[in-house]
Amino acid sequence: MNYLNVWAMLLLLCLGCSNRNKENEGKQVAIVVSTLNNPWFVFLAESAAEKAQALGYTAKIFDSQNNTALETDHFENAIAAGFDAILFNPTDADGSVVNATKATDANIPVFCMDREINSRTAATSQILSDSYAACVQLGELFANDLERHGDYAEILGIVSDNNTWNRSKGFHSVVDNFPDLKMVARQSADFDRNKAMEVMESILQGHPDIKGVFCGNDAMAMGAYQATVAAGKQDQIKIYGFDGAEDAVNAVKEGQIQATAMQFPKLIAEKAAQLADAYFKGERTFRKKLPIAVDVVTQKNIDQYIAYGKKN
């Protein structure tokens, strides 16, 4: 009889343990990403999925194709399908607030990655690249490289994205101190390589003598570079990007573009997955905004970096 009691207790203990493990194994994490048409965001989404899976969760990636309405559909589907957390790279700083709010209202934690939404309450936490501070450094580099004088152009990203303006404002907080540095053209190319190439072609027609171009991301910097090569002006125009994407890192190495700013998508994605894990384990106090520093990468320090991060 005593043996039976002991066996029964052991069995209950084992069942209890296995149930606790299953509690975590059963959790599903949705990764809603603004676009999979840019390798940087593919890397961000895949890094988040890998980390979530490594932590024992099921992960599924949703592509919003830079469309807030499609993002809304993904959130509705994720809520209806019973996902337990959303790792979120928003399409629009204002427009995406409503989607994050819906999930939060449904008691599903939302962790923003890289891109920001304009709210302190809609998301559980937001892990963001400190674009402004990095672009202050890029601005210093740009001003020195151009010897503080000459005409230049700026190619902006998506105008409704905070990163676009944090980058632009950080850059201008420095270069606007130099009256002989004159911005003669400024256009948006929506963070898109092909659009940036077209924008740069048109800028070069109107302003063939520009000495530099500041681009809000690497895809646009590479598009601008293609246009300068086509116009035979690659030795005249210095190009600056932002992201730390593979082709831009190679282009810095080859001297095709002057600099990029290395964001750390793997770090951001893994941090978001870890915060979701902490939430599942009962943590409820999170920093609302967690900026991650960005490194400026030039030919001087390129050996320390690889695409999307630092060498180990």
Partner: protein
């Protein structure tokens, strides 16, 4: 006839229910809420001219910081540095006194009693050091980082307008007192190469003729 009426009422009710569940209303006012009402100029003025003087005694003496970094850099960063972002770069709010040994259009150099020279910016005031070094302004208090960064620009603008003009009166040999923000890399902290953004700059004494 009655049946048909009921049918239409049912269809209208179903339609209303579908519309109600398809649309999610939220006022833009609610989305933008607190940051919109922030008076950036007053916030920056209050920070620079009320909060900073109030906490001045808490800021580290620059010579003490130099010794602290030499002895144990990681402990010095842990005890005295602040930063808005998670990374290698950290900011210190320091105070110090010294003699002006050199001056040009962009900087003044102050040398203290231990013959250490520090460079104070008097022209190019940018970056986030002045906002972040004291650790008194935190990003979590803002709806978005654009407002947080705009505040940094307002503080820098005030420094350019209200603090930097004091440097115009300085001459080599004058003794000065300053409170300033500086940034250092945790991996390679080189205090002698840092540029100090002055938040307060005061001539104590004219050079002795």
């Amino acid at each position: 006839m009655m049946k048909r009426g009921l049918k239409y009422v049912f269809i209208v009710l179903m339609g209303a229910l579908l519309i109600y569940h398809s649309i999610y209303f939220k006022s833009l006012r609610a989305v933008k809420a607190s940051s919109e009402g922030l008076d950036m100029d007053s916030y920056a003025k209050n920070y620079l001219f009320k909060l900073i003087p109030q906490y001045e005694a808490d800021f580290i003496d620059i010579n003490f910081l130099r010794t602290a970094i030499d002895e144990n850099a990681s402990k010095a960063f842990a005890n005295y540095a602040h930063a808005a972002s998670d990374g290698d770069f950290r900011y210190f709010m320091v105070r110090g006194t010294g003699l002006i040994t050199q001056k040009d259009s962009d900087y003044v150099w102050s040398q203290d009693s231990q013959q250490q020279r520090y460079k104070l910016a008097t022209n190019y005031i940018y970056g986030t050091a002045a906002r972040d070094a004291a650790g008194l302004i935190v990003v979590d208090s803002f709806d978005n980082t654009m407002v947080f960064n705009e505040l940094s620009e307002k503080i820098n603008e005030l420094i350019r307008k209200e603090v930097v003009p004091a440097s115009a009166k300085l001459a080599t040999g004058d003794s000065v007192q300053f409170t300033g923000a500086l940034g250092l890399s945790m991996k390679a902290p080189k205090l002698s190469e840092a540029t100090i953004i002055p938040l307060h700059l005061e001539r104590l004494q004219h050079k002795k003729e």
